[in-house]
């Protein structure tokens, strides 16, 4: 398993331009498969336009303690992009005036940003309805300075959303690295111990499942049932909901698809599973994604492809919801990942 980011390895796929070329060439250029734009034209859903902003998703940096093989961020210990306190202040100014009900902090491992705790304290004072931190779990066990994170999250009523690709050690460690499963289990037990994920608790703990390979996620409800039973029977762990997320063919997952000769078959699966009703609720229609350096994107995936919003307003410093609401959402063939089957978003299925 790789221990360095594509960027550090100087892989050609570290170039967003190259990724976009791959997604537009081959089977899509030859017409063997329809482009995403042509596909949504068939159902009169082109151009894709936003609804009201409900979720502000802020990526506070690409640094991470893990190097997961499917990571769409190409995150890892060698990534140095970290949101500054000044940019965080600009985000706080926006959080105060936005109509969005959900604040969603992601990364990398957001906890590794040195200003993370200050940012959470300040943001929680503003009183967002749903304040999410996407935690990879192992960070809680990675270093003594993170051991009190469960208490810190509780103090600020943070909604914890954590990745867990499977309820078995083998599948989890293959995707996320050796030892990740055991550390994740310990972290979940610690979150449960302070009240997270318990049946009637207001301290929300949700898990994210994404397939560990070139296949689509199964039914979210059935997977949740299996996860709940296995984690409770084997480890006494409880959690609230499972979000099943499809891997999008970008960055390290695209690298894996090409290297394992699964790219074409995977794109076929995504296109065959295209669901127009998922298009109607796809997350870019109610989300604004902010990068570590303050640029605005339709979603975290477009951020990683460096496709900034097609709006007069492109940076958090000039954030204006009315201007943003008039934009068209930028699409490419990776978008098929969010519209396959029951759809996929950072909050799980959408259709």
């Amino acid at each position: 398993m790789a221990t360095k980011s594509l960027q550090k390895r100087e892989s050609e796929l570290a170039s967003t331009q190259r990724q976009l070329e791959i997604l537009s060439n081959g089977i899509f250029q030859s017409g063997e498969l329809p482009t995403f734009a042509n596909k949504i034209k068939e159902t009169n859903q082109f151009p894709l336009t936003p609804k009201k902003v409900e979720i502000l998703q802020i990526n506070v940096g690409y640094m991470c303690n893990q190097v997961c093989s499917h990571c769409h961020v190409d995150a890892g210990p060698d990534r140095k992009e970290i949101m500054t306190r000044e940019t965080m202040q600009q985000c706080l100014d926006v959080i105060e005036k936005t109509g969005a009900h959900t604040l969603d902090l992601t990364g990398g491992a957001p906890e590794m940003n040195p200003h993370f705790r200050w940012f959470v304290e300040e943001a929680s004072k503003i009183g967002v309805k749903d304040f999410i931190v996407r935690s990879n779990l192992t960070i809680i066990r990675a270093n003594k300075k993170y051991h009190d994170l469960p208490e810190f999250f509780k103090k600020h009523n943070v909604h914890v959303v954590s990745s867990m690709p499977h309820w078995t050690r083998g599948k989890t460690d293959k995707q996320r690295g050796d030892g990740v499963f055991d550390k994740s289990i310990k972290a979940l037990q610690e979150l449960n111990a302070v009240g997270y994920g318990m049946p009637d608790s207001d301290l929300r703990l949700d898990l994210v499942y994404n397939p560990s390979g070139a296949f689509l996620p199964g039914d979210q409800v059935a997977m949740e049932k299996d996860f709940k039973k296995a984690l409770f029977d084997d480890f006494g762990i409880q959690f609230h909901n499972l979000f099943a997320i499809t891997n999008l063919p970008i960055s390290r997952f695209l690298d894996y698809l090409i290297a394992s000769e699964n790219y074409e078959d995977y794109m076929y699966s995504l296109v065959e599973a295209f669901n127009p009703s998922a298009v109607a609720n796809v997350m870019c229609t109610n989300t604004i994604s902010v990068s570590w350096d303050g640029w605005l994107y339709d979603c975290d995936f477009n951020q990683m492809l460096d496709l900034k919003v097609a709006s007069k307003v492109k940076h958090i410093s000039e954030y204006n919801e009315e201007d943003l609401s008039k934009r068209n959402i930028i699409i490419s063939q990776h978008c098929y990942g969010c519209t396959a089957g029951a759809g996929s978003s950072c909050q799980g299925t959408v259709a």
Partner: protein, 111 residues
């Protein structure tokens, strides 16, 4: 004509069998879809049965389809392999239980 009897891409064309016999083809696919819905058995259990039968029938298309289906349902490699052993055990059992027929025949014929 293809030089090989089996082409993985042909699985995607399975639906085209309705073109030369629409009513029967549609009836089959409707039945097939219904069989795999949740019933007294879960779709997960049905997927494992399908995988085992795919092997006893030695259908490469079905093996591709139900290996992938199993992964999508979170079925582990160990569960998949055990299911195949169930199929293999029944196959070999079915062969060996005919040994009784052979013994009966031999016993009848021999003095």
């Amino acid at each position: 004509m293809d030089k090989s009897y089996y082409n993985p891409r042909d699985l995607k064309k399975f639906g085209s069998i309705t073109e030369w016999s629409e009513e029967l083809g549609n009836k089959f696919f409707e039945y097939y879809g219904k069989v795999f819905e949740e019933g007294a058995l879960t779709p997960r259990e049905k997927s494992l049965i399908a995988l085992a039968v795919a092997h006893t029938e030695q259908c490469p298309y079905c093996i591709d389809a139900y290996s992938q289906d199993g992964l999508q349902r979170g079925i582990t490699k160990e569960e998949m392999m055990e299911a195949i052993h169930v199929g293999a055990a029944i196959k070999s059992g079915a062969t060996l239980v005919h040994g009784v027929q052979m013994m009966n025949k031999v016993n009848k014929l021999e003095m």
